[in-house]
Symmetry: C2
């Protein structure tokens, strides 16, 4: 006996059902439903009425197979739970609006293997393009991207060799930029707090940039504190307490993201540290929730929304009618926002 089941087993409607309902050939129904111009208004109306009243939903599987075209853009990011990627995705969505393309999101949790899986899965739907975070991929993933035969845009990071196009910022130079600001403000004993960076290449590059930038002034990072897991205010507090307990003489703390930076800021304010006088602080990302904190945390804007928008525009072929599609290299310039937590 058949189980009672949600969605009874009515066969989904096909073009043929609509065709029969309105006495127009399948072919013409198909034309109407794809908004093609070469159909008489009378026929068009008949078809639309029939399709609507039946509740017909086209089958893109069949359509995609027949036309060898799929209006999907695969967007692959490491995480949704911090404040950075949702912004990127909204930029993508915005740029794809009215392009006829549809973004499809996949999440890798900063795991190269998971990225490879997600990519494989997505490519098997033959999307029109891929937007993928970062320049570091497994060998297999690189091969898939290279052979996909569609535009690929690597985003967020411009420090390295892209497969096809790239839209991002240099995290290395963001790190150096922060180093300059820190040194210029007179801080000398610098601590770094952030994720364990095995697979967060952008955080690593910022760290390296910071290290290099400081080295040019003869300064070495005085202490570091690493953690794993998502970004959270509480983590920021804990890390800050740990590093300041161990190295009370630090006069600057650089955080690998704004959220833990904000946690650190709240901790320091609680404890009565003199900020930015005796202790300076900075984060990274330029997330707008910093606006509501008691002091404005210094940060570098990662241009998240704009990156998403530009990347999607490349796929959609908008704004690049210069005869070349693909192979674009767009490096955005991150702005340092000194806020209230660096001495002036």
């Amino acid at each position: 006996m058949a189980l009672p089941r949600s969605g009874d087993n009515r066969r989904p409607l096909t073009l043929r059902d609509v065709s029969e309902a309105c006495g127009v050939s399948e072919m013409t129904v198909s034309r109407v439903l794809r908004n093609r111009e070469d159909v008489s208004p009378a026929t068009r109306e008949k078809v639309i009425a029939a399709a609507r009243s039946l509740g017909y939903v086209p089958n893109k599987i069949a359509g995609g197979l027949a036309s060898q075209q799929v209006n999907l853009v695969a967007v692959i990011v490491p995480s949704l739970s911090n404040m950075v990627f949702p912004d990127v995705l909204s930029g993508v969505s915005k740029a794809l609006e009215d392009s006829g393309l549809q973004p499809v999101f996949g999440v890798t949790n900063y795991s190269p293997e998971k990225e490879e899986e997600v990519l494989y899965e997505m490519l098997s739907w033959r999307p029109s393009g891929v937007i993928i975070a970062g320049l570091e991929h497994t060998e297999a993933a690189r091969a898939m991207l290279e052979n996909a035969g569609i535009p690929i845009v690597e985003i967020m990071d411009s420090d390295g060799e892209p497969i096809d196009s790239v839209v991002g910022i240099s995290h290395r130079s963001a790190g150096r930029q922060m180093a300059e600001a820190i040194v210029a403000a007179g801080y000398r004993k610098i601590g770094f707090l952030g994720t364990k960076m095995a697979d967060d290449h952008r955080a690593r590059k910022r760290f390296e940039g910071l290290t290099e930038g400081l080295a040019e002034h003869g300064i070495e990072i005085a202490d570091t504190e690493f953690y794993s897991g998502g970004s959270a205010l509480k983590k920021g507090r804990e890390l800050t307490e740990a590093i300041l307990t161990r190295s009370p003489d630090l006069d600057f703390l650089y955080y690998s993201n704004d959220m833990i930076g904000a946690g650190g800021l709240l901790y320091c304010l609680d404890k009565g540290y003199d900020i930015p006088g005796k202790l300076g602080l900075a984060g990274f990302n330029g997330t707008d929730f910093l606006d509501g904190l008691p002091m404005q945390l210094a940060t570098i804007d990662a241009c998240r929304h704009e990156i998403g928008e530009k990347a999607a525009s490349i796929i959609a072929g908008k704004g690049f009618e210069d005869g070349v599609i693909g192979g674009h290299r767009i490096e955005l310039t991150p702005r340092l926002e000194a806020g209230d937590t660096i001495r002036r």
Copy 2:
């Protein structure tokens, strides 16, 4: 002349290419690639080697059409930019792991029309199930869901009649629960701060529950402050300043989400309000970033991750081997976390 273009026009590989490369029939290649058991180890290895070395990626469009099965689950949520839906999505991803199903995310920006579009688009890919936030949909969207012939799970909200299955909490009773706690703690002049609720039905239901709960004790909401746009700390500060300036005699502020609540809390601490003595505060969602604030904001946990997980389990048919698939109703019980911002 052809433009230089990313992804040159190599024809994507087909099963046939793999078949020819290893001298095994297309059908058997297909079996191997779908991990079917009925292939000899020797053949299997030959096929896998050939597929790998060619870099073959199966075409799910064709596969889906032939098998009338698509391993996609459509997940439709209003927003990614607040802290609630990413948690839901991670619950979904977790539950779908190893089920062979793949979540696909769509975002509606709290617009019923956009929801309808996204749904139409997703249904046209003939997914195996739909997880969609809320019980309120356009008439057309309802019709599509009812006729899709696949399991539908409406999530987040249990106040209303689901189309098929539902997993959520009662926002109305969450509002009442908060009203009880507020009254029990002795607060009497209550202010409400939140989004304009035209399309945020869950925020509306919480507001209604709060109103009803207070009414039972002869209390009316003393003042309200509405805004539009995303949740942000800064918004919380501004709203709080506005409402307390206009109604300085308020002794409790109820926020429609934790983020603006946190902004309000920081504002009140800045201004030296006696919390929770003279002024109580509460938010909603139970987002874990509250942990790092100077005081723990009272909140009600919306069970986000669990909702995503249970909803996905229904689609995957896990944990429901009682002879019925579909038509499940799971109402979770939100926990009130009084934190430090309600008097004891």
